[in-house]
Amino acid sequence: MNQVIKLTPKDFETDQEVRWCPGCGDYAILKSMRKTLSEVGRNPDDVVVVSGIGCAARLPYYLETYGFHSIHGRAPSLATGIKLANPELDVWVVGGDGDFLAIGGNHLTHILRRNVDVNLILFNNAVYGLTKGQFSPTSIPGTRSPSTPDGSVDPPVNPATLALGGNGSFVARTADTLQDHLPEVLLRAHAFVGAAFVEVLQNCIVYNDNAFGDLTSKRHRAENTVIVRHGEPMLFGADNDRGLIYEPVRGEFRVTGNASEASLHDETNWALAAALARVNDPDLPTPLGVFYCAPREDFVSAREDLIPYTPLSPGDLKDLLYTDSWRA
């Protein structure tokens, strides 16, 4: 099942017309997923993409693999059942911020703590698209939407922070248009054995255009984001001439103009990862990359180690039935 085969992104195109709005960030994520799947070397027949409901959840129809477009919020539990039945399958779970963080928030935290071996790709556009523009769990306060004409009040959830708090063992963040960085993170997620959580900042051109423009546009990207990689200094700026210094006592960062002073990223350091995930400061660049990666045994393997599944033979059945029996 693990033979390496030569594939191209085109091999993952289906005959279905892609029905996202022109200019939607989902196209970029789809492109990256096709690229990633063509590179990981898994047979497409062993790949399953599971989704819930929402714009993002249409993605399985556009990938030439096995796909299951299920019900709102429940894709993580469906994926858990798939892995329990057949741990060999390469399972991807895709969904939006409403799907993963509102109606399905419970299942997301449980698949993370169990560490089921799947890749969870969150398309975070901070708005409900398919239902026409209501504010979402990741919308910033004050978001004016059809359901909040005077602006929303709810403080948002930070997906990466939630995943870390939920005992996720792999937590990363990237963005739709970063076509160099997104596939890199997806490849890392795929290689990780366990629940790999990737937040993808994604543009909704119709209902929340440019929500992450300051981070993803070519003009601002270098100034406003810092891409962290394990063992490397946390540098940013057009010439990578500035860096972040980690202040571990308070779990905060300050900017240094001396790149050689920058702290090194350590993706096994949970406190550092949590500090990176929750950066929300106009004076600091927004961190992207694999914040945390701490392998531990995945759910299905741990279960198998403890209680191995064995098929029940007719003889076993007879023994089971005839326990505590007597002859009349």
Binding site: Q16, N43, P60, F68, N106, H107, D316, T323
Partner: protein, 621 residues
Amino acid sequence: MIGNEGPGPRTVVRFAGDSGDGIQVLGGEFAKAVAMEHHDLLTLPDFPAEIRAPAGSTFGVSAFQIQFGGDGVLTPGDEADVLFAFNPAALKTNLDTLKRGGVIVVDTDAFSPRNLKRAGYAVNPLEDGSLSEYRLMSMAITHLTAEAVAPTGVGRKQAGRAKNFWSLGLSLWLFGGDRAPTIQWIESKFSSMPDVVASNVAALNAGHAYGETMELDAGDAALGVNAELHHGVFRTITGTDAMGLGLAAVAALSGLKLTYSSYPITPASALLHFLASLKGRGIVTFQAEDEVAAITAAIGTSYAGGLGVTASAGPGLSLKTEALGLAVAVELPLLVIDVQRAGPSTGMPTKPEQADLNLALYGRHGEAPLPVLAPATPSECFRIMIEAARIATTYMTPVIVLSDAYIANAAEPWELPDTDALPPIAPAFRSDPAGFEPFTRDPETLARPWAKPGTPALAHRIGGLERADGSGNISYDPENHQRMTDLRAEKIARVAEQGLEHEIDSGATSGDLLVIGWGSTYGAIEDAVSGLTRAGFSVGHLHLRQIWPLPANLGAILARFGNVAVAEMNRGQLARLIRSEFLVDARSITQTSGQPFKVGTIEAALRDLLDGLPRPRSQIG
């Protein structure tokens, strides 16, 4: 009077005490000993939802009732012949279950002023003559147990805990039963605690010796009549365990990896515990984070080529309904068990009711038909699970099995089936890529192919959006939706063609009155119909095991009777179905008390119906 013989002599014993008194262990071990003496029997535990209610309180009383005797014991009995009341609260709450002139065994040590007050007695009922209608057997069980276990050196706490074994010993003396199996059970259960084994066995023997020395007898209740159980291998089984063994049989017969995925809920959790005790043999158990995760994980399992099973009670089934609609839409096999309890909302979690039938039949948005089965007795749960799995995999559909708190907890002797003769379940996984489309159909069953991920060249997408007939691609085409809706309905209708065979269970095969039941009311209706038949009435009993689709020959059976009644523990849900499907004036006999029907209740209701008939029609053929 037609000279049919009535049922043989039977005895009903009820044990009642604090929920911490070990009443269920006492009842269960007593049932086992009685079964070993070749009695037919049926038991009913009746316990509160509270785990350890305050000692001596009326709401903390736990009870266990058993009827045993000759063949054909089908209910736990309407009235007890003998009541064991281990404290005043137990006496207070259970006295109305005892027949007039019945025997009351009490532990006088528990009738302290404090306990009497807790139970709401101003005066000690053992002393004020209020029990004069009964035969009172008073004994200081707590003291006698303490004396019996003193030589084993255990402390007061363990001595107190051994009271139920002392009482079991006394019961085995009164009703005749071997202590050896119980001693074996004690030895294995407490194998790591030799002092507990010693004290429990000492108490058991002392209780037995007390009865012998005092020459106690239970009068007419101590019948010692053996059932004419024919030769075979038997075991005592609860509905829960029979259901678990049925699922194990499904695993063995189909070769499918079963995933039992559920969320803890009374009274369904016991099934999770039973399956977990199989330790991965045939069935993987998964305790999900909620009811929705439980069913969606089960759907994921079936999608990936295993067989997903989930169970709950009414509140959980309510939560699962959206996912059930998904399973109907994507046409995957799935088993969903509802161990019904009294509702609505939390209701009475440990008490039986049959009021989830409408939820099972109709509780989904859109047109989403699925088969609904219901076992009639505890042991029948075994074959119903096999049938449910056969239907689910043959027709690619979710199947709901309706049990209830009574069937799940009641126990009866079960003649074990020949495992070699069980029907095979042969899931047909699609592997041929030639002409494959995920929503083409078998011309006979209308089932779509089961193409599991990992199968070469069959990669495809399914989902809850309406699927084009054949290709399964998303389709908003009006004609396609009409066709798919019709196909889904027709597929389920076809289940009846190869479904469970139904014929009259007992009584007249045609005539004045047909009584229809389903689920756990089986025994009470059987006994009521048998009584009326002996009294010369023309009454037949039909018990539905397949409620949807209704049995193919149901219309023909209905046509053989002048009148139809439906007895069920709800407000007439099956009656309305029968009325709407057959336009017959089905009368409803209902009860929603959280207790099983008494035979007498059904018999009286049927007599009223029969008395109201213009005049008995002559029997046809």
